[in-house]
């Protein structure tokens, strides 16, 4: 009996040890299963999320390997013209990139050498890959040809692009034209420009002169300018928000200058506007009136309005751009608030951002997501990706948008943009003359941002001509040529 007890006890101990080990093995099992699971998730998310960035890295030779099989795809304009294409040099077998329009699309379409830029860079992955069907690939093989890479269809229109470029001429500046209803960017011009075909030969020279000339910079999205009087659109949006019912009662008597706390603001060219309501102040672009209006605004509310209008915020755009900047809080000095009201001081933004705000005003306050590319298709035309018009947000209410369109129309009919007054279409807009040299008040960038026709805007145009003087004299004629070209189409 005793032996049996001992045996039973021994057996029980063994069984307990085995149960304990089973528990430990379960622990070890889950320890490694979870470790591998985490690793698998990490691996998949990392390689999918950064697929394009990794592909575009200059240390990655997969692009070269692709280009040994595929010929880099074409880029088309919205009117069906080829903006960029590659051919295979018969003697060397190397691919040569051609840009039939030369300098015209230098910054918007960009270049595919030296790291790339514009559409060439953003859609590099699509352009060097070929999604032709196997049948088509086999056919290409039998002909001894490379596979044609995927084609990118841009929203740019060669006619408007050319009109914009011609209007700007040899002056430094930027023009962006877009369709406010769809967000499609119809033209994007930045001067000075370059010929992407010969870029590699001139690369060192361009780099050396870049700090002063800024040839490689796309001024539309990456130019960083004081907005000047065009910023009064933003002041007005805020004033309408704070005074939804009594804004018509606004009245100010302009004496040519406005002095608070030793800070003096004067109107452009020391003009004296006399008594004016809000619409007249806007049309006359009266600095004194808007400096005074700015001081009356609620700072917290104004800040949130500017945030909503995407100042110091990300823009809904996939290509490179600069963030705009304003500076306003409870500690901002009176002087700085006055400067802010007329778009000077620390305030800075890109023509692209100004165009987005104009689009929202034109489209009853709704901003459509800006698009430079409408589709990616295979070389044989099968759609791979379609970028449809989509809303990016409501920047202001439709009532305010309508009032601001009326004021913009007044700028044309009785204000600073009178050069557009006798056009066959009803244009509307806002001019600006932004001083940029603290030592020389006479130097200013000429701005214009506007739309046509005002009742049902089809296009918006934003222009900046660097150092060209007043917006009314230098920027409005540029916009007029573009509107003319559009309505002649």
């Amino acid at each position: 009996m005793m032996r049996n007890d001992r045996l039973a006890e021994q057996s029980g101990r063994k069984q307990r040890e085995k149960r304990r080990m089973r528990r430990d093995i379960v622990f070890v099992q889950w320890f490694f299963i979870l470790l591998f699971f985490a690793m698998g998730i990490f691996l998949c998310t990392y390689s999918f999320r950064y697929k394009r960035e990794l592909f575009d890295n200059t240390y990655n030779s997969r692009e070269k390997k692709m280009l040994a099989k595929n010929i880099r795809g074409k880029i088309y304009s919205s009117d069906g013209q080829v903006l960029a294409q590659s051919i295979q040099d018969e003697s060397t077998g190397k691919q040569v990139r051609q840009y039939p329009y030369g300098n015209l699309f230098a910054q918007s379409v960009g270049y595919a050498v030296e790291g790339g830029s514009g559409i060439e860079l953003a859609y590099n992955y699509d352009l060097v890959n070929s999604d032709l069907s196997l049948q088509e690939k086999a056919d290409a093989d039998s002909r001894g040809e490379l596979y044609q890479g995927n084609a990118v269809y841009s929203t740019l229109d060669t006619r408007l692009q050319k009109a914009a470029s011609d209007a700007l001429g040899s002056r430094k500046g930027a023009v962006i034209v877009s369709d406010p209803k769809t967000g499609a960017i119809l033209a994007m011009v930045s001067k000075p420009d370059f010929d992407p075909e010969t870029l590699e030969d001139n690369w060192q020279r361009y780099l050396a002169e870049d700090p002063t000339v800024g040839r490689l910079l796309n001024r539309v999205t990456q130019g960083y300018y004081p907005p000047g009087s065009t910023f009064k659109i933003i002041d007005t949006i805020e004033y309408l928000k704070e005074h939804p019912d009594d804004w018509q009662n606004y009245s100010y008597t302009c004496t040519g200058d406005f002095i608070v706390d030793m800070e003096k603001i004067h109107c452009f060219h020391y003009e004296v506007h006399g008594q004016e309501n809000l619409l007249q102040s806007f049309a006359n672009s009266c600095n004194c009136s808007f400096a005074s209006l700015g001081l009356s605004l609620d700072r917290a509310s104004w800040s949130s309005t500017m945030k909503k209008l995407m100042f110091d915020e990300d823009l809904p755009y996939d290509l490179p751009y600069v963030k705009s900047h304003v500076s306003l809080d409870s500690t901002t000095s009176t002087k700085e608030v006055m400067q802010l009201s007329i778009g000077q001081g620390e305030t800075a933004m890109s023509p692209f951002h100004m165009n987005l705000i104009t689009n929202a005003v034109a489209d009853d306050g709704t901003l459509m997501k800006p698009r430079l590319v409408s589709a990616v298709k295979t070389a044989s035309g099968t759609a791979l990706e379609q970028y449809k018009a989509e809303q990016a947000g409501q920047l202001l209410d439709s009532q305010s948008a309508e009032e601001i369109r009326k004021m913009m129309r007044a700028v044309v009919t009785e204000g600073t943009a009178s050069k557009l007054a006798d056009a066959s279409y009803e244009a509307a807009g806002k001019t600006g003359s932004a001083e940029y040299d603290a030592n020389d008040e006479s130097k200013s960038h000429a701005w214009f941002t506007g739309m046509a026709p005002v009742d049902d805007p089809k296009i918006t145009v934003t222009v900046i001509v660097e150092g060209a003087g007043s917006g009314g004299d230098a920027a409005v004629p540029v916009a007029k040529e573009i509107f003319d070209a559009y309505f002649a189409m």
């Binding site: 057996s11 069984q15 040890e17 080990m21 698998g40 240390y59 030779s61 086999a138």
Partner: protein
């Protein structure tokens, strides 16, 4: 035609691999089950050879070299023969584990063939030698009965081998890893791993109290120290982690385990502070893009490769994995992901886990503590090494420069891993053979009873419900082994410790027979429902 082959074979290869992995996962439950699903078994082997064929046809289509086809035929023949012979010699082997090992070898050979034909041939020769060795190992282990008593012999042999490399070794990639004897370059740390696991298993054989742990830990740390001095950080880490896990299993004390992890973390920090080559690796891990020209080059190229393939991969020969320096030994997983796809790569991860789980749960079922610890140690070594290399390649953890067992190019690595697996197989076979012996006797007893009761006119049906037997040791009585009812209705197997009675009694297994619970197995003739109770995988 060529266009179609190059573009399309990647899909069936990836899908086959997914099917293979799914079946492999379902079969974890069936480890050691004598009624292993024959259909599943055939499917696994079928996919193994099908994928091999598809892959070599693809490589042939791209390179148009007949030697690729000959290599494939030869390889398939050798592998088929190895599988056939192993099953013939050892009908009770862990068939699934053997198939998985062949699958891993085959995946490795495919991708190495694509990277470098000559290296693939060398790898194949070594793998073939390894497969022959596997056939001999179970027979050898049956003879080698004093294995568990050689505790410090293993430790000293291992330490001497590692120290020898440290002193006379040849530097490979800045680490003292290998030396060359008679034209053959060896990397002893790969083989010392086996000795090391044997050492720990034997050290904890009788008990794992504090005294034992300290003694084992002392020798373990000498191993780790020498490896760190040889700059072989990856192996050092593997040795350390294997020590932690084996101590956990032997002692069951999680506080030792957590303390060990804490100490390891402190040690790692000290290593980072002290050694510049460790710092460099940490920097390359945290921000490889900042050192893309230097230490980050290998890693960033690996990331390019992995993301470049997409779900189904670029197709064999269609990617550029050769951009990664030392791709065939250190970055084989990245090459697989690029050319065979992320899906395939994920399946490979899962397959590593399947092999690990297979060994892990076999370990629990081995009656003998020595064998149990050994199998467990090999399982942890295998999975942790896989984790280190794959994790390093995908930037999950810093690079340590160890190989992916069975897949990576490297003779020592492949041979030592095959050796580990064959030892686990050998224990498995011994165990199964022994249990089959009990089962036969149990069935005979059942038949005898049924006959008896039928004679006395009772209903036979009652005796089909005869409960499962438990094996208990009866050391003092030299009885013949027979079933006896032990008071209640549970039959007990009493064994006679005589060599003539059981061919494994003199394997040194007598000591620990008492804890066998046959219900943990399913053996020939047992009811499946009873047999699958206590089975592995889902618990």
């Amino acid at each position: 035609m060529r266009t179609y082959i190059l573009a399309l074979t990647r899909y069936p290869i990836a899908i086959n691999m997914m099917i293979y992995t799914a079946i492999a996962f379902l079969q974890i439950r069936m480890i050691g089950h004598r009624r292993e699903n024959d259909l599943a078994d055939r499917l696994l082997i079928g996919i193994l050879f099908l994928n091999q064929m598809l892959a070599y046809f693809t490589i042939y289509a791209a390179q148009k070299e007949a030697r690729v086809l000959f290599f494939w035929l030869f390889q398939a023949a050798v592998m088929a023969m190895a599988i056939f012979l192993y099953r013939t010699f050892y009908p009770n082997c862990n068939r699934i584990l053997y198939t998985h090992v062949c699958m891993m070898l085959s995946i490795g050979l495919i991708i190495i063939t694509r990277l470098s034909f000559d290296k693939a041939v060398r790898q194949f020769v070594i793998a073939a030698i390894g497969l022959v060795v596997t056939i001999a190992v179970p027979a050898l282990m049956k003879k080698f009965r004093y294995a568990r008593n050689l505790v410090y012999v293993y430790a000293l042999a291992g330490i001497l081998a590692l120290a020898a490399v440290l002193i006379v070794g040849r530097a490979v990639n800045g680490s003292n890893l290998s030396f060359t004897i008679a034209g053959v370059t060896m990397q002893p740390s790969e083989f010392v791993k086996i000795l090391y696991v044997l050492f720990l298993a034997s050290a904890y054989y009788y008990a794992a109290d504090t005294h034992q742990i300290l003694a084992a830990g002392f020798f373990a740390m000498i191993h780790v120290g020498i490896l760190i001095l040889s700059r072989d950080l990856g192996s050092g880490l593997i040795y350390y982690v294997v020590f932690l896990f084996m101590t956990l299993l032997a002692s069951g004390k999680y506080r030792y385990f957590s303390a060990g992890i804490g100490l390891g973390a402190v040690g790692a920090l000290i290593c980072v502070k002290l050694f510049s080559h460790v710092q460099v690796r940490v920097t390359a891990w945290l921000n490889p893009w900042s050192v893309i020209d230097g230490m980050g080059y290998q890693l960033t190229q690996s990331l390019f490769a992995i993301s470049g393939g997409g779900l189904f991969g670029a197709g064999l020969t269609q990617g550029t994995p050769t951009d990664i320096p030392f791709v065939e030994s250190d970055f084989i997983f990245a090459a697989i992901c690029e050319e065979m796809g992320l899906l395939f790569g994920m399946c490979l991860l899962a397959l590593c886990l399947v092999i690990f789980l297979n060994m892990l749960w076999s370990a629990l079922n081995f009656a003998d503590r020595f064998y149990r610890f050994m199998s467990f140690g090999f399982a942890v070594t295998y999975i942790f090494q896989s984790f280190l290399t794959i994790g390093g390649e995908v930037r999950f953890i810093p690079l340590t420069g160890v190989t992916l067992p069975l897949v990576s190019y490297g003779g020592s690595s492949v041979l030592s891993t095959i050796l580990m697996f064959s030892m686990v197989e050998a224990i498995f076979i011994m165990q199964q053979d022994r249990l089959a012996g009990y089962a036969r006797r149990y069935e005979a007893e059942q038949r005898r009873r049924r006959r008896t009761h039928a004679d006395t006119g009772q209903r036979a049906a009652r005796y089909r419900e005869l409960p499962m037997p438990q094996v208990r040791r009866q050391p003092a009585l030299p009885l013949r082994e027979s079933f006896r009812t032990d008071g209640g209705s549970i039959p007990v197997i009493h064994r006679n410790p005589s060599p003539s009675e059981d061919k494994y009694l003199d394997d040194g297994m007598t000591e620990d027979l008492s804890d066998i619970d046959l219900r943990d197995y399913s053996v020939v003739g047992f009811d499946d429902r009873a047999g699958s109770r206590g089975q592995t995988g889902s618990q």
